[in-house]
């Protein structure tokens, strides 16, 4: 059995004491792998990430059941200050830059987990991955383009030397070529730094191309898992997430009904 970095055992998450979003999610992430988490809107992907990174609390959410093991240590419901210092960094959905800080200052915030330590080399490393950021280093992040911002927030997370990097929809609202570039870099980061990556994506096609392993979520549960190649070959995944009919042709309205039926069956 390979090294397991992160393990979720049957966790439940409840918001505001009443709204149950995760209903027993179990997954495990192997060290050095890219694991993708797929699913439609509202399936609980983002909540799963937040449960791991400790960002549920500001939203009045809580892990009520199950356990989250990171390197064998129990980390559920810990403060984000603690979890980030263990090497888990989440890149939030929708990019969330610090708009009134320059690109370089944004990157420097990434050193918050180890204040006072030298960071110059890390800046070089990030600029190496994202050369597009170099010429904008002095401009306010609020005035940068979506692609630059996505690079910025990934770079900012890299400044923290994460062991486990969790990316929430890095392709959101980006042009296809930029998406390609971002995924190429994600792959590169994983290979060069041996950073373990959890990738939440709507773009299942791209995600399954870079990931080693994948999970499919629906309604707060994991409904399917497997190697990326297996998942990409699975007729259900093909039909519902890769946008191909079972026969490889475009979908019609009848398939939407089939989707509903299938969803219940799953």
């Amino acid at each position: 059995m390979a090294d397991i970095l992160l393990q979720l055992n049957n966790i439940s998450v409840v918001y505001s004491d009443v709204i149950q979003v995760l209903k027993g999610v179990s997954l495990s992430v192997e060290k050095g792998h890219i694991v993708s988490l797929l699913g439609s809107n509202g399936a609980g992907k983002t909540t799963t990430l937040k449960a791991i990174s400790g960002l549920l609390k500001p939203e009045n959410g809580e892990v009520t059941d199950g356990e989250i093991l990171y390197n064998g240590v129990n980390i559920q419901n810990q403060a984000p200050e603690f979890i980030t210092r263990q090497g888990i960094i989440q890149v939030l959905e929708g990019r969330q830059p610090f708009k009134y800080l320059t690109i370089e200052e944004n990157l420097r915030v990434g050193t918050a987990t180890r204040p006072g330590k030298p960071y110059k080399q890390d800046l070089e490393m990030v600029y190496d991955y994202f050369p597009a950021l170099v010429k904008r280093r002095k401009s306010l992040a609020g005035y940068c383009s979506g692609g630059e911002l996505q690079m910025l927030v990934i770079g900012r997370a890299l400044m923290a030397h994460p062991q486990l990097l969790m990316l929430d929809e890095p392709s959101l609202g980006l042009a296809p070529l930029v998406v390609l570039e971002i995924f190429r870099i994600i792959k590169k980061i994983n290979e060069e730094h041996k950073t373990t990556i959890v990738l939440v994506e709507q773009n299942a096609n791209m995600a399954l191309q870079v990931a080693h392993y994948g999970y499919v979520m629906e309604n707060g549960k994991i409904v399917m898992e497997g190697n990326s190649a297996e998942l990409a070959d699975n007729p259900d995944v093909k039909e519902f997430y890769l946008g191909m009919g079972a026969s490889g042709t475009a979908k019609s309205y009848r398939d939407v009904k089939a989707y509903r039926r299938r969803k219940r069956w799953l």
């Binding site: 984000p80 969330q96 918050a112 306010l140 923290a160």
Partner: protein
């Protein structure tokens, strides 16, 4: 003309002081969206600490000044830790009411310990600080004010622009959720902004005490002057606080000099009302960066 220049210089000195004191207020607001109604009392506390150290403790001026600053820095920390922190996550209005309560408490404490009379510091400013430029005479107090203000401004500029802690503080003000996700210690940033705010409030309290004498009611009323200042400058702009401070300082000295000294405390508030009507976000209030 000479009179005009004289007023101009005095106004700028006082204004810088208001600006710096308002900066503390703005910092708390930016970091945690809390309006601190106890600002004037913090100012007064600083002045009285300094008074006690100088007259009762008989410590040298510089030592007392530094001790007061350090003391107020710690006081800010403690206020955050014991009064503000338990209220994190509660509605903002409760936190603001708490600062009103703090104001009453501090005022009561000061009255209890030092009484409501007017105290004065022993004269200690060296005559070397006196500046005469042609026909303009700058009293030692004012040149000292100018000096201290500029030193503080430069220090804060460097702190917020260059130091990591300063950048973390700005990141929390900018996007708290993102700061949390990167492991910025948000509670520590809150505490630090209270500490720095208390420190600069005390500093301005001391200087205003030197200019006007030390009296609880006067000083805490001056503390309330941060409101016209920050609203003029824009509630969330530190640079705006400084410029707002200078404008209010100038308005005050000019009305005091040309119209009537008793009007000088009223004019800033009249200006406040007009600004709220014309520019509700102030001169430098944040205009959200919108990407289209």
């Amino acid at each position: 003309m000479d009179f005009f220049l004289q007023l101009l210089v005095n106004g700028i000195c006082i204004g810088l002081l208001y600006g710096i004191s308002a900066m503390g207020f703005v910092m708390i607001f930016k970091a945690s969206s809390v309006l601190n109604f106890a600002h004037g009392e913090l100012l007064a506390l600083g002045a009285f600490f300094f008074l006690s150290l100088v007259t009762w403790g008989k410590l040298p001026i510089i030592v007392s000044f530094l001790l007061t600053l350090v003391g107020c820095f710690l006081l800010g920390f403690l206020i955050e830790k014991f009064f503000l922190r338990p209220l994190i996550g509660e509605k903002l209005i409760f936190v603001i009411m708490l600062t009103v309560g703090l104001a009453a408490m501090f005022k009561g404490l000061i009255l209890l310990i030092w009484g409501g009379n007017l105290h004065t510091y022993p004269p200690f400013l060296p005559d070397a600080l006196e500046i005469e430029l042609g026909s303009i005479y700058i009293a030692p107090v004012y040149s000292m004010t100018l000096l201290i203000s500029v030193v503080f401004l430069v220090l804060f500029g460097l702190f917020f622009k260059k130091s990591s802690q300063g950048i973390y503080m700005r990141s929390v003000a900018d996007n708290q959720k993102a700061a949390l996700s990167l492991g910025v210690h948000v509670r520590r940033v809150f505490a630090l902004s209270w500490a720095i705010a208390a420190m600069v409030a005390c500093m301005s309290g001391i200087v205003l005490g030197i200019i006007n004498g030390v009296n609880v009611h006067d000083l805490s009323a001056i503390g309330l002057k941060v409101f016209p200042v920050v609203i003029l400058g824009g509630l969330d702009s530190i640079g705006g606080a400084i410029i707002g401070g200078i404008i209010i300082g100038l308005l005050e000295t000019f009305t005091g000099g040309y119209l009537n000294p008793s009007l000088r405390d009223v004019v800033p508030y009249i200006v406040l009302v007009f600004i709220l009507m014309v520019k509700p976000y102030g001169l430098f209030g944040l205009v959200e960066i919108e990407r289209v």
